[in-house]
Point group: C2
Chain length 427, copies 2
Amino acid sequence: MAKKILSNQPPKGTNDWLPEEFKLRQYIFNTWRQVCIRYGYREYLTPLVELADLYKAKSGEDVGGQELVTFYDFSKRELCIRPEMTPSVTRMVSKMYAASPKPLKLFSIANFMRNERPQRGRNREFWQLNCDVFGSSSEVADLEILQLSLDIMNEFKAPKNSFTLRINNRRLLEEMLPFFGIEDKNNQELFRILDKYNKLSKDEFYSRLKTLNVKADKLKDIEALMSNDKKVIEDLISSSKKLKEAKDEVDFVIKSLKDLGYSQEIVFDPSLVRGFDYYDGLIFEVFDNNPKNMRAMFGGGRYNGLAQIFGATSFPAVGFAPGDETTKLFLESWNLIPNNLYENNFIYFPLLDSASLLESQKLAASLRRDGNNVYFSLEPQKLKKALDLANKQKYNKIIIFGDKEKAKNVYRLKDMKSGEEKEFILK
Amino acid sequence: MAKKILSNQPPKGTNDWLPEEFKLRQYIFNTWRQVCIRYGYREYLTPLVELADLYKAKSGEDVGGQELVTFYDFSKRELCIRPEMTPSVTRMVSKMYAASPKPLKLFSIANFMRNERPQRGRNREFWQLNCDVFGSSSEVADLEILQLSLDIMNEFKAPKNSFTLRINNRRLLEEMLPFFGIEDKNNQELFRILDKYNKLSKDEFYSRLKTLNVKADKLKDIEALMSNDKKVIEDLISSSKKLKEAKDEVDFVIKSLKDLGYSQEIVFDPSLVRGFDYYDGLIFEVFDNNPKNMRAMFGGGRYNGLAQIFGATSFPAVGFAPGDETTKLFLESWNLIPNNLYENNFIYFPLLDSASLLESQKLAASLRRDGNNVYFSLEPQKLKKALDLANKQKYNKIIIFGDKEKAKNVYRLKDMKSGEEKEFILK
C-alpha cells in the first residue's frame, strides 16, 4: 500500500461544513422546508446521478454542456451528477402524472454539481431548494410560486429594500423575434446570447447576434430591450396583440402580489432572460441589492414543454430554485443570521469519578430519557477543568456528580450563565 | 437539438423517492438524528466528491477499488463520488483536531455511491448515518458508540429478538496471525479473505488462503475460527496474554451494556471481520434476525490509525454507520413503520368561486400565519368535487369559502373524519 501523504483539504469548489457551518445551512434548509410545507407542498428526492442526456437536452450550453460532471457505468451508459433538479423532477413526475390528482405541489432540498470556475456565491457542489407546481397552467400557479419566493424572503426577515423581484415572460421575448428579424429556429440561441448580455463585451455580444443574421439596424432595438429602454419596449408591446397578452400575464402577478400586501420592490424587467432552454412562460429572479453581492440570488419560471422529452403528454409546470451559497451571502451581508443559532443547548456531563462510571452513565441515560441532550465526557475529569471547559464551550448547563454527591445519593445541575445550582435526588 | 425520447426511469441502482417514500426515509433520518443529538453529537457534512486516492488508500478492494465511481476535473485530478464517510470525516477532523476540545463527537447523514450489483438491501446510491467519536481511546468511547447503536434500535421500537449485536476485536484477529503462520504484512489480505467467508465457496476460500502461504494443517484452525468453534477459540485465547487483553475489551463492553440494562442479544463473535482495511480495535455489527433479511444491518468499529494517511499525528477514533436501505427492510419486515406516518395533515382549500380569488388567497395567507399548512387548489372547483378529492387524498380538514360564505363574511372549517363543521368570521 502506498504510504504517500494525502491532502486534508476538500477538492476545489467544495466545502466541509464543520458543525457551526452546518447549523447555518440547516437554518437555511429548515426555513425553505417550513415555507413549502405551509403551502401544502410535499417533499421528494431524485437520484444523485442521471443519464447525461437528460441535461444535455434542455439545460443549456453551460449547465448541460461543459459543466456537466460525467462518467460511465458498467454498461457503458453515460451518467452524470445532477447539475440541477428541473429535468430530474420532470422525469419523476412524468411517471406519476397520469395517476396523481392535480395540481401536484412538490419540493426537494438536494445537492448538485457543476464543473465551473468557483467564485463568490458559486461552488462546484451546491445545494438548492426546488419547489414546483405540476398540472396547472393557471396564472394563479405562477402567482403562488412568486408568493412562496417572497414568503421565503420574509421568513429570513429580509429588509424591505434588500432585494428586487424582477419578472418577465419568455413568450414576450419569443414574440419579439420577428421584430428583430430572427427566425423561430434560432430562439434558444438568441436567449442564450441575451442571457449573457452582462457577461459579454459589447463587441462579443454583437458578433454573437450577427451569427443569427440580425441586421445592423435591429441591433440597436435589441440593445434597447436589454438596457430596459421603456419607450422602445412599450411601443413594441403595444404594436402586437400577442405581445400585449404576454405582458398582461406579468401585470396580473405583479398587481396580485401588491393586492395581497407584498410591499417589496416587484418590477417588470423585459431584459430578464434566465439561462435554461426549457423556460417558456413566466420567468423571474430575486436580485440581491447589497453592494457586496448585486446578483440574482435565485430565479424560476414556467416550463410547460419540458415533459415532452420523455415522450409524455406535455404537462404544465412552474417552479423556482434558491441555492444555499447565494442565500448564505444574502443573510451574512444583510446581517440576518439569528443570534441564538450557535448556542450550545447540550448539558455537559463530566466523569468526575472513574469509580462511578456505571452510576454516571445510568444518570446520563435517565436525563436523556427525560428529554435532555447530554454530552458525556468519556474520560475522567477534575471538576475545575470540567467547569472551565463547559464555560469555554458555552454549554448552558453542567451536571456535577462526584464522590460527595454519590455518597449523598444526589446530583447537582448548574446553570452556567446564572451560576445557579440545584440539587436532585438520584432515582 | 435531438428529438429522441428519453427514459423516465431512474438509473439502475438508484431510486426516486416519491412523497410517501420520502416520509419513510425522513422518519429514519430524523430518528438517527434525534438519538445522536440526545448524546450531544454535532452534525457536519463533507463534500459529495473527494480525491479518489482518499478511498483507494484504506477502504478495501471493493469499496476503494472496483466499486469506486471516478471522473477527472479540469486539472486532471481523479475525483470520485464518496463511497463511504469514514476517510472523509477523518480528513475533515485532521484539519480541526489540534484546536478542538476532545473528544469530538460528530455525526452526519449523507448520500454515497458504489458501482456495485444492486440487490435487496444494497443500492448504488444509498444514505448513511455516520456517528463517530474522535480523540478518546477509552473503552468508554467504544461503549458509548454501542449504546448509540442500541438506542437507535430501541427508538425504532425493535422487538427484543429482532436483531443480534455481534462484537469482536480486530486486535484479536491480528494477534492470531502467528498462530496461523501468517506474516504480519499479510494481515489486510487475510481480513479481506475472512470477510468473504460467507460469500466464497469452501474451495475458493481455501485457495485464497493458500496465496498467503497458509499451511494445510492451519486451514482447519482458520475454519474453526470462522465457524465459531468455541473450544478451539477459547484454547487459543487463553494461550496468549495479548489475545486475552483484546478479549477483555470485548468482555468489558458486553458486561457494561448488560449493567446499563440493555437486554438484547449481545454476543462475542470471533468470526466477525468487517470489510474495511482501517479497523484496528473493537468491531461490531447489528445483525437483522428476520428470516427475510438475515444480514448485517450496519456495523462499525475503531480506526485509530486512519488519520496517518494525512500525515497528521494519529488520533483515536471509533464510530458506526447504519444505512437507509437495510433499516427500511428491517422496519418493513418487523412491521415497525408508524401508523400515522402517511397522514395528510394539510388543510385543503378549494377555490370555490373564481370571483373570490383575492379574498380566498388572503384567507389562506391568514390561516398560514396562524400556523396551519394550507394547500390551495389554484384552479376553481365545485364543492362536491372538492369534498370528494379531500376525501380521496385523506386531508384531515377542508376550508369552505364559497359565494354564500363570502356574503356572510365567514368561512367554514370541516373536519373530514368527524364531519364536524365550524364557522369563523373573516378577519
